[in-house]
């Protein structure tokens, strides 16, 4: 996939099923946002395809909910959380919203799903960062998408809010049986809910379960230089090897991972 004449992604391939949460891990500039935009049908794909329920992404827009990076609503926007969610339902339609009452049940349901009832009638600009994010998730959920995409949802959240968000995403994945795709710099906060991992480095990817992907051999190949994988309890640390001759020792030193993080 090319962007501005530069090739951002190549040979990236993965599948995602309903009821699965997939983490798209990579550093800044690894191509995460570009990949998401192609799934939204906003960035053309040079070769290959992005299919959602068997049809191309641009034809399946209604099936994709999107939560962009860095949401920050101005404090004085005259828009309640409820109105934002309603726009998720009909924001693309022409004409005036004449019968909003009919949609109230759907809006309420989406607000409930993310636990946003308490601030449903507040202006979105008055909400905290975590609350604004929940509002946007409800906006994305209200049309009952099959795929929910969140771009760096954990950036700018404190630990508590991040944990609550991860729990919410896990719950939505299971109870609604939707596919959820989350990008992040760091996989650790997501490990408790992740089913699949797409690990992006320099526009190339390793995909599979956490156990399959986060292996020194796999990641060393991806990075193009030896890396060490350290596991401590449920946390995983990926480090470049200090020097080539230490690679052997580093790999040996890595703590064999416990059976499975449960």
């Amino acid at each position: 996939m090319d962007l501005g004449g530069r090739r951002i992604l190549r040979d990236v391939s993965f599948e995602l099923y309903p009821g699965q949460l997939c983490a798209l891990i990579g550093e800044n500039g690894a191509g995460k946002t570009t990949l998401l935009r192609s799934l939204l049908g906003l960035t053309p794909i040079r070769a290959g395809q992005a299919l959602i329920d068997g049809a191309s992404a641009s034809q399946r827009r209604a099936l994709v909910g999107y939560v962009p990076q860095k949401i920050a609503f101005d404090a004085d926007i005259p828009l309640r959380t409820r109105d934002l969610v309603q726009l998720g339902l009909d924001g693309h339609r022409l004409g005036l919203p004449l019968f909003p009452g009919r949609k109230k049940a759907l809006v309420d349901q989406a607000l409930h799903a993310v636990g946003a009832e308490a601030f449903a009638d507040q202006r979105v600009g008055e909400l905290s960062g975590g609350q604004q994010q929940r509002a946007v998730i409800a906006h994305a959920l209200v049309r009952q998408p099959r795929l929910l995409i969140l771009d760096e949802p954990l950036a700018n959240l404190d630990f508590g809010s991040a944990n609550a968000l991860v729990a919410l995403l896990g719950r939505l994945t299971r109870t609604r049986q939707i596919a959820v795709l989350v990008t992040a710099h760091d996989m650790n906060p997501l490990l408790s809910v992740v089913d699949r991992l797409v690990y992006l480095v320099g526009g190339q990817a390793a995909t599979g379960s956490v156990e399959e992907v986060v292996q020194p051999e796999v990641l060393s190949k991806l990075y193009g230089y030896p890396v060490t994988v350290l596991r401590h309890g449920r946390r995983i640390l990926v480090l470049p090897d200090v020097a080539a001759e230490d690679a052997e020792a580093g790999t040996a030193a890595h703590v064999p991972h416990p059976e499975k993080a449960d």
Partner: protein
């Protein structure tokens, strides 16, 4: 002022002023809310100022001043859209440059107006408006232009709102940001033309931004904001026309300009709204919702 002794509502200039003024208040309220939400207030101001060149040219060419204002506002709008980039700073830069060029043209045309024709009042009329001097023949065009704005905004209400709130969300829904931006500028140009005709190109900003700015501070919902903006705009325009009419008697036969009263009222409403929002905002600030409370 040629108001004579007829009573307020039976005076022909007053009737024309009321109709055109009402149009201006309505369309500026509606488009103004979107303009502010998108952070386009400066662009709106620039469009209004630049439209003065069109107004000045219309005197020179003897064409309908509404067309003059509109033509120049649209040229400026497309110019800004063409030059403008998404980044705020570059957009302000492009806007400022178009604004300077437009006002330069305006200076030239107004100079030519004075030297080649005998329209001595042109400068004041174009820049600051003279509502009681609007010819009746302009009522029709003003109504058509206003209907155009209301139709465009009515049709694109929801996509425009979503785009104004968060462009990324709109784009993800398949809404073309380019088209929405362009159509909104088109509507803004129409509104600018009607406002410029009513209270002058330079003062049009006051009506475009003032009532909407005050309304946004008073509202929790988009529709509520538009209703407030209409109410404030209409009150300012009607009040201004009435005060200007009455000022004929206050100042022993020297009526003060309508535009002065309208703009002053808009300013006072804005001040009041800021105060009300501050006071109400403090007391009505909702109890902080403790979050997160993990629901696992």
């Amino acid at each position: 002022m040629l108001l004579g002794n007829s009573s307020f509502f039976s005076s022909e200039p007053v009737q024309t002023a009321l109709i055109v003024g009402t149009c201006a208040a309505l369309v500026s309220a509606v488009i103004g809310v979107f303009t502010i939400l998108r952070g386009n207030a400066f662009a709106g101001h620039a469009l209004a100022d630049v439209s003065s060149a069109g107004g000045a040219a219309s005197f020179l060419l003897g064409i309908n001043p509404l067309l003059g204002f509109l033509g120049m506002a649209w040229i400026a709008a497309f110019g800004m859209e063409f030059l403008g980039v998404r980044k705020v700073r570059e957009r302000d830069l492009a806007t400022g440059i178009v604004l300077g060029a437009g006002l330069g043209l305006s200076a030239l045309f107004l100079y030519l107006d004075v030297t080649t024709t005998s329209t001595t009042g042109a400068a004041v009329s174009v820049m600051f408006g003279s509502m009681f001097a609007i010819p009746q023949s302009l009522i029709g065009p003003a109504l058509v232009a206003s209907a155009g704005v209301l139709l465009l905004v009515g049709l694109l209400y929801r996509p425009m709102m979503l785009t104004a709130v968060e462009p990324d969300l709109a784009a993800a829904r398949g809404i073309s940001l380019r088209w929405i931006g362009l159509l909104q500028l088109l509507a803004l140009g129409l509104a600018v033309a009607v406002c410029a005709l009513a209270i002058g190109a330079v003062l049009a900003t006051a009506l475009l931004i003032g009532p909407a700015g005050a309304a946004i501070r008073l509202s929790r919902r988009p529709a509520q904001a538009i209703c407030w903006a209409i109410a404030i705009g209409l009150t300012a325009v009607w009040g201004g026309i009435w005060m200007a009419y009455e000022s004929y008697y206050w100042f022993s036969g020297n009526a003060w300009p309508v535009s002065f009263f309208v703009v002053t009222l808009v300013f006072l409403f804005y001040l009041a709204a800021v105060l009300v929002a501050k006071v109400a905002g403090l007391s009505a600030r909702p109890k902080s919702v403790i979050w997160p409370h993990c629901e696992v």
